[in-house]
Symmetry: C2
Subunit: 450 residues, 2 copies
């Protein structure tokens, strides 16, 4: 088989750790391929995250619905010389035929809550582990970071500029999606615009200005091609001088019916420069030209700029958003919680996997907001809104795909309804409470006594 | 067009920032689509990186050779309502027709050196910026991290376990490739094994042991399916007890001609546990069973374990390798250095882009090892080995694709030849010197005097 240059529907079944396949082979060899339930959850919240935003479910469900091993994949597995014919035959006809319960995308979630729950043949649910962790972990990571940037921005908007620093091509596509869910107003990534209908935003690079040498000529040329939405980069040589040139060019182009939308600051002391640039533009009669800032921004830098009164209208956030630079991974895990022998528990120092099929309830009691993790069969707690929805039944989606705008709106509302201290950007003082129901507590005690 | 679920050859041309397209449109509109040269380089080395390992060139060259805008891409761009027909027509026939000079993959490199140099039509080289930065930046990031892990491991081997925590699907594929180039002996990622011929490695998960309840039965079952290369996870309940059970099972299975290859420790005090487990195995007559450790490892943890004499034979390194967790991005940039008006320079505080078409020379003088960045037309410095090779001429590759093993060997040799202090893992004391040639220095002075 030719080298797989890209991951695609035709080879994604192999995007799995070898051990998923060796374990599955052992289950098949010993007739242990019976129903089992796995929970996908986050072990603990990173120090700087008081909440997470679930994201990536759409792609996870696509994966499960499409899971199959094409002949080329089977040939490769055969060539490894470690799998027998019976197992390869099982893979040849394997489809995901189980059940999925999941929180909807855009929902706020916390550690130790099942986010996605799979029930199905042990082989089917085991093989899915690696991809599900990768897919949901990464998008949740970026959506959660973006939600923090959105909190810092308040009324201002921000744009995902991360494509060039994201980890590979798929990350660039999915980071733009997750950033939009988390609150970005747009992305610079054209493919993400096409794939997901995300609004696009773009300015110009220093090389453009350098190509002309003369800044006025660069700005004029660009604005004539994009007469209504040109954002001009003014820090190639001297930012304040750049602002003066833009003001002159903007006045001159008015006679041609062309308006400059914004100037962009990408370096230097952005707080001070935004003030002097605002003054230069205002003095020249160009209050309508907005100031857009970019360059090593994150939620803390933006919050500090705005707290200091920097007159900045929008932000381009790249590297630190798309790589979630302060927290570049989440401790997302996928654990067996039930099999044919009953609910399963695993206890290790600082780690516990709660047994059984569970539901998560959010209780928005103003005096005591909290979530409850309960056994599925338990009576829901009073006032509790259940968060896990039945997404796939018998291997097929039973809900319509959600428009990304609806997911984005869910995130906005869910974040808005969080207790104020959970929405704060600093270090987490009091974690949002996630409690166990009486039934789950009793089950844990029973299993531990064994 | 249907949503693009994956990046592929058919849509990767759109994996670009919108500004690349708006700038290109302006160049086309104003007949400025003339030859230009861009350098791709790293602005500065992160605090914990004394050297980098170039990686990702193969995919970058594939991208350039295949660059094209299919009808669906053009339709989408047209639908944005900001591009005129002339520009869209240019894109419809656009191919990369220029020249690429690049360091070979696996070569050690440093900040402020051109790693890849593109010369071609301004539109062609501009559009490639975003993808090239993404592709080369990420793989170089991971290969560089892996090279540090390899230095920590010394004679021991390590395996890439990162797939589940990498940033999306493409990152999982490319991280395995880059980790292998950087020194990993294998990967757990089956798709990477198929795509690149990387050896595969896998063990078992806690859920497997839990499925059986009885550890002995779990080990026996697994080993019978994989009679020559079973690595058994022994920390599901109690690590030392797990080791005793493995020892008993291994003795028992000897009569069936089955051998256990290794046990895996994935939690707890790995240093202490590795000693007690070694003792348990040795006492039971199983010196042949190796100890493999995983769980939140990186070069520092591994170096400390081995410095303390932990009897560990191999390591599984995941999250911190595949996300380069301490340094999750590189400041890799792509800058105009020459156009039809001549060499270009850009100077800003702490940032300078060196002008002109350049070559990099490595001078392995034991008393003064250093690199020299020189103008292409200059006489090479005495004893200097040129690092930039002509990779694409007139839009076509002029070198055969390299086997990954050759790239991996180049890295091993290049790292081995580095001065000892550059190979140390701690904070960087004296950066490896990268000097400018007399000709380049004179050109910079001349351009600054203007």
């Amino acid at each position: 088989m030719a080298a797989a240059r890209w991951v695609s529907d035709d080879n994604v079944a192999l995007l799995t750790d070898l051990y998923e396949l060796t374990m599955a082979a052992s289950y098949v060899a010993h007739d242990l391929d019976e129903p089992a339930t796995f929970d996908l959850f986050v072990r603990s919240l990173p120090a700087e995250r008081a909440f997470l935003v679930l994201c990536g479910l759409e792609q996870a469900l696509d994966y499960l619905e499409g899971l199959h091993f094409p002949p080329a994949a089977l040939e490769y597995l055969d060539s490894l010389g470690i799998f027998d014919r019976r197992f390869l035959d099982r893979l040849a006809t394997l489809r995901f035929t189980g059940e999925v319960w999941a929180m909807p995308e855009g929902e706020v979630c916390f550690a130790e809550e099942p986010l996605v729950r799979l029930t199905g043949s042990l082989v089917e649910v085991q093989l899915a582990e690696t991809f599900l962790l990768n897919c949901l972990g990464f998008q949740t990571l970026v959506a959660s970071k973006a939600a923090r940037v959105a909190l810092a921005c308040g009324e201002r908007s921000f744009v995902d500029f991360s494509a060039r620093r994201d980890h590979g091509a798929d990350a660039a596509l999915k980071a733009a999606r997750a950033a939009y869910v988390g609150g970005a107003a747009a992305t610079s990534n054209v493919l993400a615009g096409m794939a997901y209908g995300i609004p696009l935003s773009g300015t110009m690079a220093h090389s453009y200005v350098m190509r002309f040498g003369d800044e006025a000529e660069a700005y004029r040329t660009f604005a004539r091609v994009f007469p209504r939405n040109a954002t001009l980069l003014i820090d190639t040589y001297d930012t304040e001088e750049g602002a003066r040139i833009v003001a002159r060019v903007a006045t001159e182009l008015r006679t041609e019916g062309i308006s400059i939308r914004a100037v962009r600051l990408d370096s230097g002391d952005v707080a001070a420069l935004s003030r002097s640039v605002r003054h230069i533009l205002d003095t020249a009669g160009h209050r309508e030209i907005e100031i857009f800032a970019s360059g090593d921004l994150d939620e803390h830098v933006i919050a500090a700029l705005l707290a200091g009164g920097a007159p900045i209208d929008g932000f381009g956030v790249g590297t630190r958003l798309g790589t979630s630079a302060d927290v570049p991974s989440l401790p997302v895990v996928y654990k067996l919680v039930e099999d044919v022998t009953g609910p399963k528990i695993k206890i290790a120092p600082h780690k516990r996997t709660d047994p059984g099929r569970k539901q998560v309830y959010r209780i928005e009691d103003p005096s005591d907001p909290h979530d409850v993790v309960a056994l599925e069969e338990e009576q829901p707690p009073a006032g509790g809104r259940s968060l896990l929805e039945h997404a796939i039944a018998g291997g097929r989606r039973i809900r319509a795909r959600e428009p990304l705008a609806a997911i984005r709106a869910r995130r906005a509302e869910a974040v808005e309804r969080l207790p104020e201290h959970v929405r704060r950007l600093g270090s987490v003082e009091a974690p949002y409470p996630v409690r166990l129901s009486a039934g789950l507590t009793a089950l844990i005690e029973r299993l531990c006594m064994r």
